[in-house]
């Protein structure tokens, strides 16, 4: 069957900051208002609202989706929250996509918000509760440790050096210097800075990691007939994919994210992409840690396994390279308010493909991009392909 076409017609984004004065509702409102203003719509024209936000334990609010509903415009409207851990930010527009593609709605507001700073002294405390209550939680594990294990495995499998990976952090933090909403943009950062930053859990060092962040991002999705009426240059959602691997992460080889590959293949099939390396012009893979960008580029089939570090060293993934990767600055540079960070990547594709990315604009009028997020226990991949 032919699917109903769905476009992104508006986007809005708050500043990403370490500690926002605003409540989660206020951040959601700010981003939603900007997205609606972007396409000259008012809230009463919106048919339904979709929300994405990660663990309730950050804010200490149970049923966080219900709490955030009115701040996000979900008042007397169909409203649902979707949740796939860190993958939520790219899943939320997928959730919005089938709201519209199903024919039930014509205009959908997609909002992602995260307020991590409420969690004292540090959100790592909340992450203690993501582990299996019987087999893992008694060990007191920490996200930095388990990602250090995955990074070690990746480096060991392909014989990589730490420098091969740290280059990603340098690239993204430099890119973020051009992003008006960024928290950690730094035009002058060097490889030495990353290599000399404090070791948190070897091989993870402080500058390999994205920061704790507060922020919100919103998009407006429209059915084709509405999109063509209200927008001169809608950006089409061409493919969506999502995939979840086993809870028993200790039982699988961490060197390759097969769930990301599955999600990517699902999205590429839908978009009719047979040669992603030729047909994709921009990539916004999830980069909460620098090695994750490389891991995900391989999962997205954009580079051979173990070859993404070499491509990074050659400058292929620079903003003016053959395949610009995280031209936004990514999570490492712009910041990582979990769900909002994922949606920021989709918003970046929207601005890049419309040629509205300002100082971040990728040269050569890119026509198609892919955004991806990752989450749960190194377990979920969410992928969206957009084009003009």
């Amino acid at each position: 069957m032919s699917m109903r076409k769905v476009a992104v017609v508006g986007a809005g984004m708050t500043k990403f900051v370490r500690r926002a004065q605003e409540t989660g509702k206020e951040l959601s409102y700010e981003a939603s208002k900007m997205a609606l203003d972007y396409c000259d719509l008012s809230l009463d024209q919106i048919d339904c609202v979709v929300h994405g936000t990660a663990p309730d334990s950050f804010d200490g609010v149970h049923m966080k989706g219900e709490y955030l509903a009115d701040g996000s415009g979900g008042w007397r409207k169909p409203y649902t929250r979707c949740y796939v851990g860190g993958g939520t930010g790219v899943f939320a527009p997928i959730h919005g996509w089938y709201h519209v593609a199903s024919g039930l709605f014509d205009l959908c507001l997609v909002v992602c918000e995260e307020k991590m700073s409420s969690c004292q002294p540090h959100p790592q405390g909340a992450f203690l509760t993501i582990f299996d209550h019987t087999t893992e939680r008694p060990l007191g594990p920490n996200l930095l440790w388990i990602f250090a294990m995955e990074m070690n495995r990746y480096m060991h499998t392909y014989g990589l050096k730490k420098e091969d990976i740290a280059r990603v952090s340098v690239k993204n933090k430099r890119n973020a210097a051009d992003h008006p909403c960024s928290l950690l943009g730094d035009a002058d950062i060097t490889l030495e800075d990353v290599m000399n930053s404090p070791v948190l859990a070897w091989p993870v060092q402080r500058l390999d990691v994205s920061p704790v962040t507060d922020g919100a991002v919103a998009l407006v999705l429209a059915a084709e007939h509405v999109a063509r009426r209200i927008s001169d240059n809608p950006v089409w959602i061409e493919g969506v994919g999502w995939n979840l691997d086993t809870s028993y992460w200790t039982n699988r080889d961490l060197c390759y994210p097969r769930y990301v590959e599955n999600a990517a293949r699902m999205a590429y099939d839908m978009a009719g992409i047979t040669e992603p390396r030729k047909q994709i012009h921009i990539a916004e893979p999830y980069d909460p840690f620098d090695y994750k960008e490389l891991h995900h580029l391989e999962g997205l089939l954009l580079f051979d396994r173990g070859k993404a570090p070499e491509a990074t060293a050659l400058g292929i993934t620079q903003r003016d390279g053959d395949l610009p990767v995280c031209p936004s600055g990514g999570l490492l540079g712009v910041g990582n308010p979990i769900a909002a960070a994922g949606l920021m990547k989709v918003a970046e594709l929207f601005w890049q493909l419309r040629g509205e990315a300002g100082a971040r604009q990728v040269p050569g009028q890119p026509k198609r991009g892919v955004a991806q997020a990752w989450g749960d226990l190194m377990q979920v991949g969410t992928v969206i392909v957009m084009g003009v």
């Binding site: 699917m3 989706g65 007397r76 169909p78 089938y98 979840l244 691997d245 809870s247 377990q379």
Partner: protein, 388 residues
């Protein structure tokens, strides 16, 4: 453009106040195995996507999404968690199929309420942290306030509410899966211990453990899989105001809007004439009356009289909660709506055993997320139809 969707498989566990001998994974597995057997599908081969309904604080695990795929057969496939009412999850599955991205989707919802030792404290975390939580209002107290307002505004009486309890608990005696069947009179309800005026112990549905899985399929697949597909003719959902201060107390606007949306889709103009029976949220006794009115079966203030006259009895014009509802089966938290859907499906298939209603064609299920939310979802199901 969008295609018809049917429920082709249902599986559920018995609903019990305690289930100490099984984990949540085991009850999910039991319901899933039964549903796949009922649908005649192999989840590894035939099911394209999986939807689970869960809230982190109830599960006691952050990012509960992580612990879903293995026991429902969803490993390395699309999975998403909807932190909402189970009918929100059903609507998500519906949209995935209607959009064309999936042909067969499994929806899972469960309650392990017996694991939650301090439920009122968990619910307190759903209140606005600044404005409401410091008041330390018990959820039953909040429901009592709303009931007082509802009784005042609608003219309904405590006796009429007590009739709902007597009816539903008697109905539950004929449901082998129900936990709280009881031969009880309205007077017994009124004389039970007062918990928060005007709610006595018997006006409040007690929590139960249990899991339900439904398998949904696109029209062509549904016809191949099932001789008795139960068609989803309409879905609707809505949120009213999330804060206690700004909502319409007494009237269930979320149910009015959810009903309107589902009826519009199903082409239903007069629910009382066109719907044969209903499974409607009765988390508290008055909620059945309030929801019946909001869902357009009668005018505001009439549902109590209809109940007294026997209209909603098993032999009445509109049997309501023939399964026993939440008061009789036990309250399965957010899984309640899928329990209601399962009850409607069994009736429409003619497989409801001693509870079977004669000659039913169309039924409604409606779920509400409970205090302090104003979030509800409705679905209209029919054993006729399926051509578009």
């Amino acid at each position: 453009m969008s295609r018809d969707v049917a429920i082709v498989g249902i599986g559920y566990t018995s609903f019990r106040p305690l289930s100490a001998e099984v984990s949540y994974k085991e009850i999910m597995y039991e319901a899933a195995v039964k549903a796949y057997h009922d649908a005649g599908v192999n989840p590894r081969r035939d099911v394209d996507s999986f939807v689970t309904v869960a809230e982190d604080f109830i599960e006691g695990t952050s990012i509960f999404d992580e612990y879903v795929p293995d026991q429902v057969g969803g490993l390395l496939k699309p999975n998403v968690t909807i932190p909402g009412e189970a009918i929100h999850g059903l609507a998500t599955a519906y949209m995935q199929i209607a959009s064309g991205i999936a042909d067969v989707v499994a929806v899972e919802a469960h309650s392990k309420a017996s694991n939650v030792l301090t439920m009122p404290h968990v619910t307190a975390y759903a209140m606005d942290p600044v404005l409401n939580r410091p008041l330390a209002a018990n959820p039953v107290f909040i429901a009592g306030m709303e009931m007082t307002r509802y009784l005042w505004a609608s003219g309904a009486t405590r006796e009429q509410c007590a009739e709902v309890v007597a009816k539903n608990k008697r109905n539950a005696l004929y449901n082998p899966a129900a936990a709280y069947g009881e031969n009880i009179e309205a007077e017994d309800v009124l004389n039970a211990e007062m918990i928060a005026y005007p709610l006595t112990q018997n006006d409040i549905s007690a929590h139960t453990d249990g899991a339900i899985v439904a398998v949904l399929a696109a029209e062509d697949v549904a016809r191949r899989l099932s001789e008795r597909p139960i068609w989803i003719r309409g879905v609707g959902w809505c949120n009213d105001a999330s804060s206690l201060e700004t909502r319409a107390w007494g009237r269930a606007i979320y149910a009015e809007e959810a009903g309107k949306m589902a009826y519009r889709m199903a082409g239903i103009r007069n629910p009382m004439q066109e719907i044969d029976f209903a499974e409607i949220d009765d988390c508290y006794s008055y909620k059945e009356l309030q929801h019946l009115e909001a869902l357009g079966f009668c005018l505001f203030g009439e549902a109590g009289f209809l109940t007294q006259e026997g209209v909603t009895d098993v032999g009445g014009i509109l049997p309501v909660n023939v399964s026993g509802g939440n008061l009789g089966c036990g309250h399965l938290l957010d899984a309640s709506g899928l329990r209601a859907v399962a009850s409607v499906v069994m009736q429409l298939r003619g497989e409801a055993g001693p509870r079977q209603l004669p000659e039913v064609e169309t039924g409604l299920a409606f779920g509400w997320r409970g205090v302090p939310t104003t979030s509800g979802a409705a679905v209209v199901l029919s054993n006729e139809g399926g051509e578009s």
